[in-house]
Symmetry: C2
Subunit: 106 residues, 2 copies
Amino acid sequence: MENKVTPDKNTEMPDLEVLFDLADLFKVFGDSTRIRIMFTISDREMSVLNIAEALKMEQSTISHQLRVLRQNKLVRVRREGKQIYYSLDDDHVKKIIEMGLDHVLE
Amino acid sequence: MENKVTPDKNTEMPDLEVLFDLADLFKVFGDSTRIRIMFTISDREMSVLNIAEALKMEQSTISHQLRVLRQNKLVRVRREGKQIYYSLDDDHVKKIIEMGLDHVLE
DNA sequence: TGTTCATATGATTATGTGTTCATATGTTAA
DNA sequence: TTAACATATGAACACATAATCATATGAACA
């Protein structure tokens, strides 16, 4: 059983700076447009325009949000000719979303 | 090995409403004051004043943020006389934070 | 080179949000 | 009851942020 009380393993408070980084990370997940983008590219990489079309949103809006995702290393970028393809950076990202989904759906 | 490509298990996009709820949930984690509160009460329940003292912040500020945590069912509340004790609602919360920490610390 | 297409970026605007101050609510004990 | 204490709440303000429009950058190809 995993859910028994564990008084030993006391979660020590990380440095303030780490806590700020942590909040900043979750802030990125805290926007529905970015969440939708992440779902959209979770299976396969997609170009900016394709994402915009899939979500029926402005190319500019998507581009702005992709930048946020990029800056936080949540997406991977690959250029091929004129288009730039985005995909999720690693399984980490998926796992964070899944954890959140669990909470929301329960 | 876990990290091989799995083209079958395509993460289906949940309903828009769920995605909004998901973003809203992460929004709650996206504030350093709330993150610090959650760390503060992760080991043991604490009263509002104690939390405020621990974080050297106004009682009012803590109270406002505790309300947000309450509304999102992330904390548990117990009254004992004049004081009200807060603790994390379940291990879920801890796990979400830990996932985030993993990403931040890597 | 000039044109077209895909993406990125800057400025603006509207909206959301965290903190503070002042005060209200509610509990305990005299 | 009243006083003292703990917590919650409302209003105000300062600040952050997402979407939009217009435009810039950069690649491909005639």
